[in-house]
Symmetry: C2
Subunit: 513 residues, 2 copies
C-alpha cells in the first residue's frame, strides 16, 4: 500500500486539499444547505485555508469572503459549488481559467430531472479544462484522516452536512446517495466502527465507483469497502477491479435496483437506469462482492469483517455453534440459523463430554447449548468458548446473554445496598472478572482463528456490549441480525479462502519452476 | 372489560398479591438469583407485604425473615420459590397446608431435563391442594399497574430479575421464555411503548398460554398481546380464544418451533415438542394472529398496532406511498416494498398535479416522491401527508428524513454561532414549527384514518424520533424494519376489517329481524 501523503491517485487531491474555495457559503442557519455545509467544514476542524465566495458578503463565519475565485490571492486545491444551477457554468469556466481542477458540485437538477441541455453545457466546460468533478447532485466528501503536507496534525475534512464527532476509522464508503455518506458514521459508531473516507458520487458525471475502488485499493486507511450502488456505469472495469480487490479488502454493496420499486425510485434520484437483479447478483458473486439485503445488514456485515479480518478469523465454513444463558433467545437464534440454511451440527463426542462435566444439572450438553441462567463470566466468555474453538467441530460460535454492569442498575434502596462496602467490593470483583475474561477470550480468537459473535438485547445501554465490540467480538442486539450477517460473511469467507489458496498454489508453482 | 380491582380471573391474584412469601430470598448479590429477584421486587416499589423465608437468616434486605411459611402471622397471597429442587415438594406441601394457593416456581430441572419423577412428585401435591402454579422453570411475572385494595397508589410488582423503570403501558406479554418478560420492556421503550403485564410461563405445568389469553381478553390495561410460544399445549382452546380476541385486541406471536434448529433448542429449554411450521401458520392465520419473523419484528409490529389502534387507522389495503428527502433511503424503502410484495402504485392524476405545484425544480411528482433535500417541516409533516391522505390513492404513507435538533449539534465554534441571539431565535422558531407540524399531523390521522410511518436513521439520538413515536406516528430507524412490520399489520388489517364488517352485518340482521 502507498503512503497516504504520497498516494498518487487523483482522489487524494479531493480528500486532502490544502485550500477550499466555497461557492454558496453563507450564514443562513438553520435552513440553507450552503450555510450548513460551511459551518460543518469549519466546526469539524479543517486546518487548511477556506475561501468563501459570495457576491455580497464580506465575511462568512469570520472568514474573508471573495466576490470571485479570481480574487483569491493563493492557490485553490478544491472548489465546492452549492448554489443555483444557473450560476454553475460560469463558475466552472472561472475555475478552469484559474487552474482549479478539482471540483465538487452539490447543485442538482441535471440528468435526474432529464435536463440534458444543462448537463451538456457543463460537460463542455469540464472537457475544455479537463476538470475532475465529484457530482453533481452529491453531498461532498468526508475524510477522517485529513492532513497538511507541512504538519503532523490529523483532522477531519467534512464537506457533508452532518458533524463527524467520532474517532477516525478504517471503513470507507463510496455512495450514489449522499445520506449514506453523511449519516453512515452514526450507524458505524453503534457497532464501535468508524469511517475512514466517504465519497458521495451523485450523478457520476466524471468521478465514479471505479475511481473510488482504485483509490480504496491503494489506500492504507481503508480496510473494508462499502458501496451504495444505483447504477454501475463501467461494468467491465468495475468487475475487474472488484475481483482484484475483494479478496484483500472485502467489498460490501447495497443495491436497490433489482425490483420495480427500487428502479422507479432510482430513476428520479440520480437518473440512473436500474438493472436486472440476477445479472447484478452474478457480477457481485463472481467478483467476491458481498451484497447486503438492507441498510442495517450493510453495517452489520461491515462490523463482522472489520473485526475478524485483523485476527484472520473469517470463517471458512457454515457449522454454527450456539451458546445461550436463556432458552428463548437461544431458540430464536437456532431457528434463524435453520431458516438461513446454515448448519447446526451436534456437538462432537469429546466436546460433549467436556461440556457435560462443567454444566449445572439444569442444562444439557447439546447444540444449541443452553447454560440456563448463569452469571459466571469466566465460563461464559472464556472456558466454554475455548472448548468450542479447540474442538474444531464448528466454524463460528454465537453467544447470547453476556451480563455487565447494567444488570445491577437499581433505584434508591438497591443503590444504597450496592453502595455498602461489601457489595461494592463483590460487584467490582465480578466486573473485573467480566473484563479479564473478555480480554482472555481475545487469545482464543488469535490462537484458533475462531470467530465468536455475541448477541445482547440491551445494545449500547449495556457497557459490556461496547466492551465486546471494542475487543473485536462482533456484537449485535438481535438474533436475526447476527445470523443474517454471519451468513453473508461465511459466503465471502469461502470465496476468500479459495482465492487465497489459489494464490498460494500459484506462488508455490512459481517457486518450483 | 372488567374493572381491574374486580377482575375475577384467577391470574389477578398473581399480578396483584397483597403479600408475597419469598422462598430463597437472600442478600448474596451479585450472583444469586434469589437475592437479585428479592432486591428487584423491593426496589421496584412493591407496596404489599414481603415475607422472606430462609432457614438461617433473620432479615433479608431489612425485612424480617421466617424459618417457615407456617411462622408467618398473616395471610399470604402469593408464594415464590427460587431454591434447590430438593426443597420444592416439602414447601409446596406446607403452602397447601397453610392455604397458600398461588405459587410461582422459578426452580428448574423438571420436564426440560427429562426428570419425570420430580415432576410427578410436585404434580401430586399441586393436585392434592388444587394449587395454581406459574412455572416451574420460569422467571416470574411483572405488573406495571399494581395496586392494593385499600389504597389508590399504583406501583410496579416485579418478580423478575431486571428493574422496570419505565411508565406503565398497554402491551402485555405471555412467554415461554423468561427473558422475553424480563428484557422486553427495554425493546418496547425504544419504540416509546410500555409494558402492562408480563407472565413468564416456564414449563406450563398448570398455568398456560390459554389462561393468559383469557386474562388479557378481560384486562382493561391490555391493548396489544404478545406471545412467545415454544409449544401450544391446548391447541383447540388456544385457537378458539385467539379467534375470539384477535379482532379486538391484536395478538402477535414469536414461534421458533418450525425449523430443525428451533426444535432442538426448544426441547432442551422447556422440554416442549415443537410442531410443524405449516400447521402453526395455518392456526395463526385462521385465528387472526400475526406471526413475527424475528424478535425485532415482534416489537416493531406491536409498535405500529399500539399507535394505530387508538386512532382506528389500521390499514385496509397494501397501496404504499413513499416520501423521502433523500434518494438513497427512498430507493431502499421502495426496493423493500417490492420485495415484500406490497404495491407501490403511481400517484393519481389529481394528487400528481397538486404535488407538482409544490415541489422544487429538483424534484418530480412520482411515487416514490423524492423531495430532494428539504428543511421545511410544515410541508414534510403536514401539507404533503395531508394531500396523500385526502387523495384516497394510498393505504399507508412511509416518510424518510424528518429533521430535528440533532441536525444542528455542533462543536465549539458552531455552538458559539448557534448561541448568538439571531441564530437562537431562528432555530427555536424552526423547532417550534417542527413540533407544531407534527401536532397538526395528528389531525390528518384522526380525520382520514390514514397511517403515517416515519423512518429516521438516527433513532433515539434524535429527539424528533421520540416526538413522532410519542405522537403516535410509528417511527423506525431502518427502512426494511418499517416495511416488514407494516406488511404484517396490513395482513392483520385485512382480517380485522373482514371480521368487523361481518359483525356489523350480523348486528344489522338482528336489528332487521
Amino acid at each position: 500500500m502507498v503512503d497516504q501523503k504520497a498516494n498518487p491517485h487523483f482522489l487524494n487531491s479531493f480528500i486532502n486539499p490544502a485550500s477550499i474555495a466555497f461557492f454558496g457559503a453563507n450564514e443562513q442557519i438553520p435552513d440553507n444547505m450552503g450555510a450548513l455545509q460551511a459551518l460543518t467544514l469549519i466546526d469539524n476542524g479543517y486546518l487548511g485555508q477556506i475561501y468563501p465566495i459570495h457576491p455580497r458578503l464580506d465575511t462568512v463565519f469570520g472568514y474573508k469572503a471573495y466576490k470571485s475565485i479570481k480574487d483569491i490571492p493563493n492557490k485553490v486545491d478544491l472548489a465546492k459549488l452549492i448554489l443555483p444551477k444557473r450560476y454553475v457554468p460560469q463558475i466552472l469556466e472561472e475555475c478552469g481559467q484559474c487552474g482549479v481542477k478539482h471540483i465538487i458540485i452539490v447543485t442538482a437538477g441535471y440528468r435526474e430531472v432529464n435536463d440534458k441541455d444543462s448537463q451538456d453545457e457543463i460537460m463542455a466546460i469540464i472537457n475544455k479544462y479537463d476538470l475532475k468533478v465529484l457530482g453533481p447532485n452529491c453531498i461532498g466528501m468526508l475524510n477522517t484522516h485529513g492532513y497538511l503536507l507541512d504538519s503532523s496534525a490529523e483532522f477531519v475534512i467534512n464537506t457533508t452536512v452532518q458533524m463527524y464527532n467520532e474517532p477516525p476509522g478504517t471503513v470507507s464508503i463510496a455512495s450514489q446517495s449522499g445520506t449514506f455518506v453523511s449519516h453512515s458514521f452514526m450507524l458505524l459508531a453503534e457497532r464501535d466502527l468508524h469511517l475512514s473516507r466517504g465519497f458521495s458520487l451523485g450523478n457520476e458525471l466524471i468521478i465514479d465507483l471505479c475511481d473510488c475502488l482504485e483509490f480504496f485499493e491503494q489506500d492504507q486507511q481503508t480496510e473494508v469497502i462499502l458501496l451504495y450502488i444505483e447504477e454501475i456505469k463501467r461494468g467491465r472495469r468495475f468487475y475487474e477491479l472488484a475481483k482484484r480487490i475483494s479478496s484483500k479488502k472485502p467489498i460490501v454493496v447495497l443495491y436497490p435496483g433489482g425490483t420495480s420499486g427500487g428502479s422507479k425510485a432510482i430513476s428520479s434520484h440520480t437518473g440512473s437506469m436500474a438493472g436486472n437483479d440476477e445479472i447484478h447478483n452474478a457480477v457481485f458473486n463472481q467478483s467476491g462482492i458481498i451484497r447486503a439485503d438492507s441498510v442495517e445488514e450493510l453495517f452489520d456485515i461491515a462490523s463482522i469483517l472489520a473485526k475478524l479480518i485483523p485476527t484472520d478469523s473469517i470463517p471458512k465454513g457454515d457449522r454454527i455453534a450456539i451458546m445461550t444463558n436463556s432458552g428463548g433467545p437461544g431458540a430464536m437464534m437456532a431457528d434463524a440459523t435453520s431458516r438461513a440454511k446454515l448448519t447446526l451440527p451436534p456437538l462432537g463426542e469429546k466436546l460433549k463430554l467436556k461440556l457435560g462435566k462443567l454444566l449445572p444439572p439444569t442444562a444439557q450438553a447439546t447444540n444449541p447449548l443452553d447454560l440456563t441462567f448463569s452469571l459466571n463470566p469466566a465460563q461464559f466468555h472464556y472456558t466454554i468458548p475455548r472448548m468450542y474453538a479447540k474442538s474444531s467441530d464448528f466454524d463460528v460460535l454465537i453467544c447470547y446473554g453476556a451480563f455487565g454492569p447494567s444488570f445491577f442498575r437499581f433505584n434508591e434502596f438497591g443503590t444504597s445496598f450496592m453502595n455498602q462496602e461489601k457489595s461494592k467490593e463483590k460487584l467490582s470483583q465480578w466486573l473485573e472478572l467480566v473484563e479479564s475474561s473478555i480480554e482472555s477470550a481475545k487469545r482464543i480468537v488469535a490462537k484458533f482463528k475462531f470467530p465468536i459473535i455475541n448477541v445482547i438485547f440491551m445494545g449500547l445501554d449495556e457497557p459490556v456490549f461496547s466492551l465486546l465490540n471494542k475487543s473485536d467480538f462482533p456484537t449485535f442486539k438481535m438474533p436475526h441480525q447476527a445470523i443474517a450477517a454471519i451468513k453473508k460473511v461465511i459466503g465471502y469467507g469461502k470465496y476468500r479462502h479459495k482465492i487465497l489458496n489459489l494464490q498460494n498454489l500459484t506462488k508455490k508453482e512459481i517457486k518450483t519452476d
